[in-house]
Amino acid sequence: MTATAMSARSDLTELGRSETALRAFLHGLPGVDQVGAQQRAAQLSTRSIKATAKAWAIDLAIRMVDLTTLEGADTPGKVRALAAKALRPDPADPSCPHVGAVCVYPSMVPYVAEVLRGPAGEAGPAGVEAVSAGARVVHLASVATAFPSGQAPLEVKLADTRAAVAAGADEIDMVINRGAFLTGRYQEVYDEIVAIREACGPAHLKVILETGELATYDNVRRASWLAMLAGADFIKTSTGKLPAAATPPVTLVMLEAVRDFRAATGRQVGVKPAGGIKTTKDAIKYLVLVNETVGTDWLDPDWFRFGASSLLNDLLMQRTKLTTGDYAGPDYFTRD
């Protein structure tokens, strides 16, 4: 590593100490060519992925799914069923991989943990070894920090986070304070992410930018850098609670940000588009985008995830079509 890169790295860690430096850095980031980003994303989405490549992409996409339920009407029974599905998405086909994680509200974490990790005290999840020997386990993600608005005092957000981690979550999806970000109070957003990062302890931190409320791609790029500088392990597009959810151009801008961030600091950060990704076709478009923007390093459930609920069933139907030759129907998969 060159001396300039080294000094750039130490400069970046210093940024969070002063609001002026942070603002100067974020506003000094090159602007996003809006039309260019949209066209690049549109052009990549025309790639045709067929046969064995498609089968590979579907299995990878299943492993990348954060199977999510974030409803006011969630019950322990519903999330238990969802967790069981996460371990064994297609009961009819043992070769089907498990999903990346289950994502629920903090109050539902204990019930999911029970299914994924077995009853308290017992070692290891009951079904996982059988599903895919030696493979990674299904992670347990929980939204926190007054999801989805993020409009709560910091103490409440910290308590929310600690409770979720204590209950067994090993990934925390936090929302940034968009109000503060949009009014230019970058230091406040930064400090909040740092504080939540600390409260997470060993758990991974995903920072939700809620790009639908950020208005411009320039803001998406700034928010991505801000979150990464503050220590995010993942940056995530949306809460899924707004009609404007993940789009390929927004994801492209975020992928470019994590690529540049790794080049500048050596630290790799993951990306998670969430909301509005419903079909296998959509998912494969995103995988093409990842491969063409940041390369194969990110084509892994540790570095790229889909926040989705209905996507999994479509992936399973397409998978069944490839293995049996007949189109599958939604009646043959659980509705969740």
């Binding site: 030759g325 007949d326 189109y327 599958a328 129907g329 939604p330 009646d331 043959y332």
Partner: protein
């Protein structure tokens, strides 16, 4: 005065209330009228799959509509067909056949609120219960329309399926698809909800096997399949998820004769409810 430039028509598919080209981009030539030819979309398996998705999406709304409403809409289809009589005649369909097809819509339209009474009712049971049976639609029906007569045959397979609340994906006559595409225009202007009828033109032997194997199709009407071997293989595929199957009809079938109730009743499920009697 300069001569008008001819406004030529592109004959496309009818899926989910829209008229898309085939996803495959293919088309084929057919004879249209006396001495001209037309390009018609050559549907692919993916078009068939999209049509099933559209038909499934339309299912609950159409089945949930009142019988009265379904009857009105089917009657309106007859009105629209009557209004386009000349257009069908120009395509080479005999006037008699257009009239018979219009009458057939009207006949089936009338059945929408009578079918539950003929096929359902109160069953006498040995116990203090009120026992009711009502017919319900089967769901998504894949139909192979007869090759001829192009219009009357098509109407005679579509109308009995949708009158009870089913939705259909129809593989139209490969030799005479223009009548089917024009019928799609009739249906699109008849207030029929998008996706209730989906029409695929092209080679049925290409699209129908994927429909026969499709797990989200509930019934298969093989009326227009002339090749006995193909019919058998389709039945075998359909058995995979226990689809209801209507066997092919012989080539000399008289489509002008009274159709009877068979085509409607073959695509129904019976729901029976037991109610305890008070006292």
């Amino acid at each position: 005065m300069s001569e008008r430039v001819a406004v030529r028509k592109t004959y496309k598919l009818y899926i989910g209330g829209e008229v898309p080209r085939s996803e495959s981009g293919r088309s084929y030539l057919v004879q249209s009228g006396e001495n001209s030819t037309a390009n018609v979309a050559l549907a692919s398996r993916k078009d068939a799959r999209d049509a099933v998705v559209a038909a499934r999406a339309a299912g609950s709304g159409w089945a949930g509509a009142t019988a009265y409403n379904r009857g009105q809409i089917l009657y309106r289809a007859a009105e629209m067909l009557e209004g386009r009589r000349e257009q069908f005649v120009a395509l080479g369909i005999p006037g008699d056949e257009v009239d018979a097809a219009t009458d057939r819509w009207v006949w089936y339209a009338g059945w929408s609120d009578k079918l539950p009474q003929v096929r359902g009712g109160v069953n006498p049971v040995a116990g203090p219960y009120l026992n009711l049976s009502t017919p319900e639609p089967t769901g998504v029906v894949a139909v192979v329309a007869p090759a001829a007569p192009a219009l009357l045959g098509l109407v005679s397979v579509i109308a009995p399926a949708i009158v009870s609340g089913n939705t259909v994906v129809v593989a139209a006559s490969p030799t005479d698809p223009l009548a089917a595409v024009t019928l799609a225009e009739v249906l699109a202007t008849a207030d029929l909800p998008a996706g209730v009828v989906n029409i695929l033109t092209g080679r049925p032997q290409e699209t129908v096997p994927s429909l026969a194997g499709h797990r989200d199709v509930n019934a298969l009407d093989l009326t227009g399949v002339a090749d006995a071997e193909l019919a058998t293989s389709l039945e075998v595929k359909a058995a995979e998820n226990l689809k209801r199957v209507l066997r092919p009809v012989p080539a000399n079938h008289d489509w002008y004769a009274d159709p009877g109730l068979a085509r409607m009743t073959a695509l129904l499920e019976t729901k029976t409810v037991w109610h305890p009697k008070g006292g």
